[in-house]
């Protein structure tokens, strides 16, 4: 009697830690006494991971995208336009560096980054195969898959467009060159014409039956000499390896001509004629070579340009000809992240939420119903102590459960924790408090566990489907996406994913963390408001 009086004189202690400790201990005993209750609590999330981890939802649309155009050419703009026009993507950021874009990805503002490399168009024109780098946030398997598929399509489309252009241009060049060459053949004929005309008298002579007079032969030779002068001998190698004209005259004419002249008097006409004939042949050959040279110059002038183009093409890699632009993928965070890696944090968040909310049904509504809470109310223990004590236990329990889940994830799903464990713990702690407090608020408002279940369903069902763990949020109608912004599970999932999978430090998750703290403040406020000692 003395003791209790003494306690009473202490007046109401708002937060009695010893009593809180007793509440925590009692709940711990209650929880562990009934292991059957623990089994579904622990098995449920594993089933969730297995069953829902691989579920694919609807095709996401309007995935927020950042473009990093290191090249601002027309071709680069074409590609950007192509991405913008697609229903799959919404380009909300065009930034100048990849780092900047990665920051946006980290903050969750974009899900996809498209990097167009520097000198993109130039390189494409030079026939150097170009890669467009795509960085996809793997956190949402469906979004990631859709993004990749979409971008592969766009890039391949652009690539084949360029490829077709190139082949067309090649065909055009070849055509031009062929045409020029054909023209050149004709000009060759044309060039040859006058010379043949000039040679005609000799031909006439050679083919005539009658004997020519000296005078006639002399005249013929004269015309022949003029040909000699016109056409110097040339080396047959007209072009060197650099395709430059090699005009190297070799033995010449004058002697031959004089020889011919001397012959006219001393040799028989017949032999002279044969000499003339030989000389004419030589001249003709020389002439034809000269014509070739002239025509080559002409040819060079006309055909060189298309040939040059063809030449460039021939130097092309066949691959670059067929796929001038390729899709290249870069990991957003580390390497080898799988869909499951990104689902796990959401599952954990969801599980904490479900477990905490549902668990509180027994805790307040149930204890209210079976009178054991009344028993606590009969003691000089403040509401704050009861609330915080109960919250502490369940928060602790959920934290332990989440830890267990993470361990399970590591063992069974080979998850690698990238970020700080302490930070993960902090997020879980805050989030578990919110969930437990929410459950407690509902539990305080209802009279029975059955009522509680109905109420809790109202809150936990949308969380389950809007958490983004089971179905990608981006595949959902706009109003649902907005609704998701009011669910703590959204933020907890983001924060957990950020730290666990992306390896974020606290700076990157300030926003979700702040929202979570706000939720906690609001929910706690509600709990203190609705938690009534009055057991009417």
């Amino acid at each position: 009697m003395k003791r209790s009086t003494a306690r009473a004189e202490e007046k109401e202690v708002l937060l009695d830690f010893r009593k809180m400790g007793a509440i925590v201990r009692k709940n711990f005993i209650v929880m562990t006494r009934d292991p059957i209750r623990l089994i579904p609590l622990l098995v449920f999330p594993i089933i969730m991971i297995l069953v829902f981890g691989y579920i694919s939802g609807n095709t996401p649309k309007h995935i927020s995208t950042a473009i990093v155009p290191y090249d601002n050419s027309e071709l680069s703009q074409d590609i950007q336009q192509e991405i913008s026009n697609s229903e799959t993507f919404t380009v909300n950021h065009v930034v100048s560096t990849e780092d900047e874009a990665r920051r946006l990805l980290d903050e969750g503002k974009v899900r996809v980054i498209v990097v167009i490399p520097a000198n993109f168009e130039d390189n494409v024109k030079r026939g150097v195969q170009q890669g467009i780098t795509v960085i996809v946030d793997e956190s949402d398997s469906s979004v990631a898959a859709t993004s990749k598929q979409g971008l592969m399509g766009i890039i391949s489309k652009v690539s084949s467009k360029i490829s077709i252009q190139k082949i067309t241009s090649f065909q055009h060049s070849v055509g031009t060159a062929t045409m020029k060459l054909q023209q050149d053949d004709r000009s060759h004929v044309n060039l040859y014409g006058p010379i043949a005309e000039k040679l005609a008298p000799a031909e006439v002579y050679m083919n005539s039956e009658k004997k020519m007079s000296d005078q006639e032969v002399k005249a013929l030779l004269a015309s022949s000499t003029s040909l000699h002068l016109y056409a110097p001998y040339h080396d047959t190698t007209l072009l060197d390896e650099n395709n430059t004209w090699q005009a190297t005259p070799i033995g010449y004419d004058a002697q031959e001509a004089q020889k011919g002249a001397a012959m006219q008097s001393s040799y028989l006409m017949g032999s002279a004629i044969s000499e003339v004939h030989a000389a004419t042949m030589v001249a003709r050959q020389a002439d034809s070579q000269a014509i070739s040279a002239a025509s080559y110059n002409n040819y060079k002038k006309n055909v060189a340009a298309p040939l040059q183009t063809i030449n460039v093409f021939t130097q092309y890699d066949a691959n670059s000809m067929l796929t001038p632009v390729v899709y290249e993928e870069k990991a957003a965070y580390g390497t080898g992240k799988r869909a499951i890696d990104f689902v796990i944090p959401s599952i954990i968040a969801l599980t904490i939420f479900q477990g905490a909310v549902m668990g509180m049904g027994r805790s307040i509504a149930g204890e209210k119903k079976d009178g054991s809470l009344t028993r606590v109310f009969l003691t000089p223990t403040s509401n704050v102590t009861i609330i915080i004590g109960t919250l502490s236990f369940y928060t602790l329990f959920e934290t332990i459960r989440a830890t267990f889940l993470i361990i399970i994830s590591i063992i069974f799903f080979n998850i690698k924790i990238e970020g700080s464990l302490l930070l993960i713990g902090l997020i879980i702690l805050i989030y578990a408090s919110i969930s437990v407090a929410l459950g407690m608020a509902i539990s305080s408002m209802v009279k029975t566990e059955q009522q509680f279940m109905a109420m809790a369903m109202l809150i936990s069902m949308p969380s389950m489907f809007l958490a983004g763990a089971l179905f990608p949020l981006q595949a959902m109608p706009k109003f649902m996406q907005v609704l998701a912004q009011f669910l703590p599970v959204t933020y907890a999932g983001d924060a957990l994913r950020g730290v666990m999978i992306k390896g974020f430090s606290i700076g990157y998750i300030i926003y979700p963390l702040a929202v979570l703290l706000l939720f906690l403040a609001i929910v706690l406020g509600i709990v203190f408001m609705v938690f009534k000692r009055d057991i009417e």
């Binding site: 209790s4 009086t5 306690r7 009969l378």
Partner: protein, 313 residues
Amino acid sequence: MKNIIEMKDLVKKFGPFTAVDKINISVKEGEIFGFLGPNGAGKTTTISMLTTLIKPTSGKALVAGHDIVTEGVDVRSVIGVVPQQFSLFQELTAEENLVYIGRLYGMSRPAIKERSDYLLKIMSLYDARNRIAGVFSGGMKQRLSLAAGIMSKPKILFMDEPTTGLDPQSRIAIRELTKKLNSEGMTIVYTTHDMDEAEKICDRITIMDKGKVVADGTSEELKHKIASHHEIEIEFEELSADILAALKKLPFVVSLSHQGDIINLTVKERKNVFFMLSSFLNKRNQKVVEIKFKEPSLEDVFIQLTKKDLRDG
């Protein structure tokens, strides 16, 4: 003896329903105070108010000098409660339950150990202290509940129908313990259906009905209150309608009922009634098998006051 509990125009309404209607009851320090009434009379509601579980709609009550509304913590510090419903943790063992309750009263660990050992022993639960309360029998549960109620050595113990549903042995055990605690100086507010029980252990009794106090006093006082109405049972060898009509006309007869050859008379006064009845019957030459006065029980008092059987509610 001074009053340890005082109620002044205490009212509790649940919506339009008035569960407790302006009651003024005092409980003296050191007594066993009996709270009687049919179900729905407002006993439990009154106890809930006194134990600070619910707030009165209007009126005032002091428990050990503390206002039940403004000094809830002080009230809770000096009271112990054995609720109507077993309200301990089914998953906890007997000892763990007591330890938990002790902690919530802010008791130190050694004090808890000492007190719980003592209580488990006197409640004959010591051997079962490590068993889960959920598997206890009704009697064990009730003894444990009592132990939890007095864990903090309260000045006042509220017992809300502690023996309801128990076997006779357990009832006796609870009653004995109640008496023992009272003899150690604990004031006890005892709610019960059982008139016999109330008569046996309560120093004073208040009868409530429909939220109002209909009578209070010691069991003798209460019986005396309805002593203005006495019942006499007469068994005739053969009852005739004439006699019945004549009896009804007698000035001292308040009411009359009959069953077969037996009639029940309610009379205003006991004085001379026997003589007057004898002469009346003699005059008419009636053969009577038996004629007897019925001693009023608390139950009769109750029925008389509430016009209904206790257990009907």
